[in-house]
């Protein structure tokens, strides 16, 4: 992975979301290796729209947060593990 993101540690909720991603998407990396500020889509982890759908389903099921395409924040929600975890935390139903 890209060196410039290496030193940012994962926050606890980010660790949880990272584990969920690895499990749901059958990723070959260790959850602890996903750098919180590295890109998720296209470069970085290299996820694509098929993954986005799988992830959206699991996020809905697990956290009660429904993702929508028209949500302008979307481009930023999926920008990194940090932004994704942040969005879920902000929107989740307790």
């Amino acid at each position: 992975m890209d060196n410039q993101f290496k030193d940012t540690p994962q926050r606890p909720f980010e660790q949880e979301v990272a584990r969920l991603m690895v499990e749901v998407l059958y990723l070959e990396v260790d959850a602890t290796e996903i750098q919180p500020e590295a890109p998720l889509f296209n470069e970085g982890l290299g996820l694509d729209s098929i993954d986005a759908l799988e992830l959206a389903l699991e996020i809905s099921r697990h956290y009660g947060v429904d993702l929508k395409s028209d949500d302008e924040r979307n481009g930023n929600i999926f920008a990194s593990l940090r932004s994704l975890a942040g969005h879920i935390e902000a929107c989740r139903t307790p």
Binding site: L25, Y26, E28, E43, L53, E54, A56, L57, D66, D70
Partner: protein, 435 residues
């Protein structure tokens, strides 16, 4: 052609009638740059359709590019002289001479001239990936496209008395989405939703925004996703599925869940859609009016209006004049996430990368049942890291086929004639992948 007052496209902001669409198409046609061909990069479905219509009025050919990378666009410019790109998004970059369109929806009084487009005219070109890794162009004639839309309308019974509202989750630049969500409204009694509809939440909102009867045009991947949520949908006349076989049990579950009928379309990029069926009614496909299929050894020949007899890489069993069932697929072709590729084509690209002495893509055994399955690859590349190989592949192939795992080996178990026997490859996998 449809009545001037018929609704062709719907969005949250507007309803576009045939009259409005035609006026806007003529206006845009006058604005378009002179060019032989255009690459349509519009994001909004209605804009995409408008750009297509305008370029047809200008006598231009539309290239449908599912890969919009700069690399692909430059490759298209090399192959097609006098090419411009068109988009509705000011932020979208293009390495080609580019036109940013702004549609004019205010229709003056009166009806615009209904164009008389010659059936034999090539209006679009769609691409498939060939067995040597290079893209193969398939010209589409206006007559063929129109005939297919009219046939679909007749086959599925979408009559002018009860025009249907179509919501499609599929992008307009792939043949399936192009045929259904862009072309169908031009010929059949159907209006198409212009907003995005990708996540289950989007689909529910889109269907709720359009009048009955409602059609959802989608794929097995999306249907599976929807079934996994507790999604409630407004009354739905039909769900239409294509791009990959739909499991009959999943179709039955969808019919029960949303009190609807689940239909499938069978087709290929080379010829458009040619047959349909209701999934739970059985294996047999029923050909559209005007389509003839015949089996020839290990493949199929398809004839249809404005389509010269074309080879289909599936083996069929002809049941009667209009009915057939699928027996098998040529094993070189693989489909992931609704995209199609040639395995030998992928391998060709892999071994063409600098530093890769040998390599092979392997599809997971369960890729048909598990639509989110990914490829993996074995490579012989002592001086090239898996990351570097992945980066090179990223520029060259559809993202759906990027290997989730690249394993470096010292040699591939080829036999004396250079072939990679299935058993040898399976043994390698057993040793290295699932020990």
């Amino acid at each position: 052609m449809r009545d001037p007052g018929a609704v062709l496209f719907r969005s949250a902001e507007r309803v576009v009638t045939a009259r409005t669409f035609l006026h806007a198409a003529h206006r845009l046609a006058a604005d378009l740059p002179a060019a032989a061909s255009i690459v349509n990069l519009c994001r909004d479905r209605c804009h995409f359709a408008l750009a297509f219509a305008a370029s047809v009025l200008r006598g231009q050919t539309n290239l449908l590019a599912s890969d919009r990378s700069a690399r692909r666009l430059r490759a298209l410019a090399d192959e097609f002289d006098d090419l411009v790109s068109i988009s509705d998004d000011p932020a979208a970059p293009s390495p080609l001479p580019h036109h940013l369109m702004s549609p004019a929806w205010d229709a003056p009084a009166g009806d615009a001239a209904n164009p008389d487009i010659e059936g034999g005219r090539i209006v679009a070109i769609v691409f498939t990936s060939g067995s040597t890794g290079t893209a193969v162009a398939h010209p589409k004639r206006w007559g063929a496209l129109a005939a297919r839309s009219l046939a679909a309308g007749a086959h599925f019974g979408w009559a002018a008395a009860h025009p249907a509202s179509l919501v499609g989750t599929v992008p307009p630049q792939h043949m399936y989405g192009f045929e259904t969500t862009v072309l169908l409204p031009l010929h059949a009694a159907v209006s198409s939703w212009c907003g995005t509809a990708f996540y289950p939440a989007d689909i529910r909102r889109a269907l709720g925004s359009v009048p009955a009867p409602r059609l959802l045009v989608t794929t097995p991947l999306q249907i599976r996703a929807m079934l996994q949520t507790d999604l409630v949908l407004p009354p739905l006349a039909s769900i239409v599925s294509a791009t990959a076989p739909l499991d009959a049990e999943m179709a039955a579950a969808a019919e029960r869940r949303w009190d609807t009928e689940v239909l499938e379309i069978f087709g290929a990029t080379e010829m458009g859609s040619i047959a349909g069926r209701r999934t739970i009614a059985g294996e047999a496909w029923i050909t559209y009016p005007g389509v003839k299929v015949s089996r020839v050894d290990d493949h199929t020949l398809v004839a249809a209006p404005f389509l010269a007899p074309t080879r289909l890489n599936d083996v069929i069993d002809v049941l009667s004049g209009e009915r057939f069932r699928l027996l098998g697929r040529r094993t070189d072709l693989i489909k992931l996430g609704g995209r199609r590729a040639s395995l030998s084509g992928l391998n060709h690209i892999l071994t063409g990368i600098d530093g890769v002495a040998d390599g092979v893509f392997v599809a997971p055994d369960d890729h048909v049942e598990r639509p989110t399955a990914r490829m993996m690859a074995f490579v012989v590349a002592p001086t090239c890291s898996p990351d570097a190989i992945l980066a090179a592949l990223r520029e060259r192939i559809d993202p759906a086929f990027l290997p989730r795992r690249i394993i470096a080996v010292t040699a591939l178990p080829r036999d004396e004639v250079g072939k990679l026997p299935y058993q040898a490859l399976a043994a390698l996998r057993a040793r290295l992948v699932d020990p």
